[in-house]
């Protein structure tokens, strides 16, 4: 069985912004503009974060530049009340889904407050142990199923994450109980330095769905229309009792794994250059709008300016917090009084020299 044939990469718009001919009601100018806006914002966010890290204003950061279409296309397919479980690289998705920018920055600044989503938004803090969040998405969606709502979970994870046992256990659980969850894989070809061929023998990730008898789909992760379209389908399926779907969004990170990583140690960065030229998710929408005669450079400039302004405001907000309040360390370990924690807190605050 040729899996490349069985799981062809779904594409609605080519690298140079032309329609592939595939039919979808989601290829509209309006949507294109919305996608563009979010992707531009995300890219500027990402670059801002990298800069803040370079200036020592936040800590280690994991950039996502190049993966905007995957994250925006999928996040915009979700609705309020749905649950989102990101990794450390999914701030385009969480921001688009309504996370607080200030908090995203705070998280990387080493402040626990940054983990808290805005009220009413079910956005989980990035899961650091790889793949473990897949089960939380499964569990929260299972809860929705039990409550009889039509809410669903979406969970983000990378190609490397597919090697962990939790990936397998999560997909298996959700298939057995027909849980409404969308497993959104961003296959960017690398887990830090380890290339896909060392991560798995299979040529696709989508085919792993066959092990659970659930739908699997491969999508051009740099084509925001295709990502949106396929995620909508998966979400609809989940909402209407059709169970989970595995989506493989084939993409690429242009930069380093994190700001402490040096990609030239393990890969030729000219590939990133090539992809940026031919397959960039943002340029693609720009070209699409051009081909459709809907490109408006004033509007685009505006989009950029508004984004910068919003980001600057968020950074100002973030920088009001120098460090977290020390009590936050103690106050949310338990919901009840537990003496070792209480005593330690007391010692910390009231016995002079404990407090740095």
């Amino acid at each position: 069985m040729d899996m490349n044939e069985k799981f062809p990469i779904v594409q609605l718009i080519t690298g140079d912004g032309r329609r592939t001919g595939a039919i979808s009601e989601n290829i509209t100018i309006e949507k294109a503009k919305r996608f563009y806006q979010h992707m531009v914002f995300s890219r500027l966010f990402d670059r801002k974060a990298v800069n803040l890290q370079r200036q020592g204003r936040i800590g280690t950061y994991a950039p996502f530049e190049g993966q905007e279409a995957s994250q925006i296309g999928s996040a915009l397919a979700m609705e309020d009340g749905d649950w989102m479980f990101p990794t450390y690289r999914d701030h385009a998705a969480t921001a688009a889904f309504g996370h607080s920018l200030k908090n995203i920055f705070l998280y990387w600044k080493g402040c626990i407050e940054g983990c808290v989503p805005p009220k009413g938004k079910h956005i989980f803090p990035p899961s650091v142990p790889i793949a473990s969040q897949i089960l939380h998405a499964t569990g929260t969606a299972w809860a929705e199923q039990k409550k009889g709502t039509d809410r669903v979970s979406i969970v983000y994870f990378g190609d490397g994450a597919t090697s962990e046992g939790d990936f397998h256990e999560g997909l298996n659980f959700s298939s057995v109980f027909n849980i409404p969850v969308v497993f959104f894989n961003q296959n960017n070809g690398y887990a830090i330095s380890v290339p896909l061929e060392r991560q798995m023998k299979t040529k696709t990730i989508a085919q792993k769905a066959l092990a659970y008898d659930i739908p699997g789909v491969r999508v051009d992760g740099n084509d925001v229309f295709a990502v949106y379209d396929e995620t909508i389908k998966a979400v609809e399926r989940a909402r209407s009792g059709g169970g989970p779907t595995l989506i493989e969004a084939v993409t690429w990170r242009y930069g380093a794994h994190t700001t402490t990583d040096e990609p030239s140690k393990y890969r030729d960065q000219s590939e990133s250059k090539r992809r940026r030229e031919n397959e960039d998710p943002i340029t693609r929408v720009e070209r699409f709008l051009e081909h459709e005669g809907a490109w408006d450079s004033n509007w685009a400039e505006n989009v950029h300016e508004e984004a910068e302004q919003k980001l600057d405001e968020a950074v100002i907000e973030m920088e009001k917090t120098i460090k977290s309040d020390e009590s936050l360390m103690f106050d949310h370990v338990f919901g009840t009084d537990v003496w070792p924690v209480q005593e330690q807190k007391h010692r910390f605050f009231y016995e002079g020299s404990e407090k740095g």
Partner: protein, 331 residues
């Protein structure tokens, strides 16, 4: 405590079933999940009859995957449910260790209480039932060191029901360890209705002025017997059932040793790193000047729990405890 209430005679495992039934009936958000907890009623019959009474939606057989089980229960717990997860034997919890230590116990802190994990994980533990390999671990100390987790161990049917109800009602993750050796060791009067035994409080099982013996689970009865024997020879012991291993009942520990000046801690787990050492720490902190002899430990060895022909050699017994009583009183 049980004057005007209706009671029935139950074993520990029946008291556990009773607590689960009570909670399932009382609170719609309570779920029971695990391997073989459904039709089969659990390999120890701890969930017997619950599937029939509450159905597959509430009493759920899951695939054989402890990380999946704990991890997805975390999700359920964050979204309105109170899952009570059965791990078939404590020795099988380790594949789910990551979900417990990096998620279940940290989510409240990480999200500053936006999300919480009112999850109870039940697991039979300890040796003494001639079980196969890995089925007899007493690794409670691996869990008391995890911030954000409470660890509870009943030693009798009354406490089993009351502590389990408290654990399920607790707003945070609780590891509820069930001493399988005494699962069916005898029936006791247990109130038919719902009641709770508070977490974090020890229980004084016997009083004496010479030595304080601290134990939990199946070791409580063994300690009591040794204390009985010792009292015949003029050595009188407090026997204190710690009941909750995190947080320990510091006041009860201090009060007892400040009276006796001598302490013995009994547990089945390996000596090094055992919860015994947390008790020693508390005594050191609170009662240094009261102590008349080094504290003694009667514990398992720093070896894997042996296969069952040697399990009685491994575990603390009356004789070993008796000898420790002699040693601390003669010091």
């Amino acid at each position: 405590m049980s004057t005007a209430v209706n009671t029935k005679k139950l074993t520990i495992v029946q008291a556990i079933t009773d607590a689960l039934r009570e909670m399932l009936a009382e609170d719609e958000s309570v779920l029971v999940l695990g391997e073989d907890v459904g039709k089969n009623g659990g390999v120890f019959r701890a969930t017997d009859g619950l599937f029939e009474q509450f159905g597959d939606d509430r009493v759920i057989d899951t695939p054989l995957a402890e990380s999946g089980l704990i991890g997805s229960s975390i999700g359920l717990a964050m979204n309105g449910f109170k899952p009570v997860v059965e791990i078939q034997f404590l020795g099988f919890i380790y594949p789910g260790f990551n979900q417990l230590i990096t998620h279940a116990t940290r989510i409240r802190t990480r999200t500053q209480s936006r999300y919480t994990v009112p999850l109870t994980v039940r697991a039979p533990y300890g040796s003494g039932v001639r079980a196969p390999e890995i089925h007899s671990d007493s690794t409670e100390a691996l869990f008391t060191h995890i911030p954000g987790l409470k660890v509870v161990v009943p030693s009798n049917p009354y406490d089993a029901k009351g502590l389990l109800i408290s654990s399920i009602k607790d707003p945070d993750p609780v590891l509820f360890l069930e001493p399988m050796k005494i699962y069916r060791a005898g029936k006791e009067d247990v109130p038919t209705e719902s009641y709770s035994v508070p977490l974090g409080k020890a229980s004084v099982k016997r009083t004496g002025d010479d030595v304080s013996i601290f134990a939990w689970g199946a070791m409580v009865r063994v300690a009591e017997k040794a204390a009985e024997e010792a009292s015949k020879n003029g050595m009188h012991c407090d026997v204190i059932d710690l009941r909750t291993l995190y947080p320990l009942d510091k006041d009860a520990i201090a009060e007892s040793v400040q009276k006796t000046g001598r302490a013995i801690i009994v547990h089945e787990a390996p000596s090094t790193g055992g919860v015994s050492n947390d008790v020693i720490e508390i005594i050191n902190d609170t009662s240094f000047l009261f102590m008349r002899a080094p504290i003694k430990k009667v514990t398992g060895y720093d070896t894997p729990v042996p296969l069952f022909t040697l399990e009685d050699d491994y575990a603390p017994d009356e004789k070993k405890i008796y000898r420790a009583i002699e040693e601390v009183t003669r010091f």
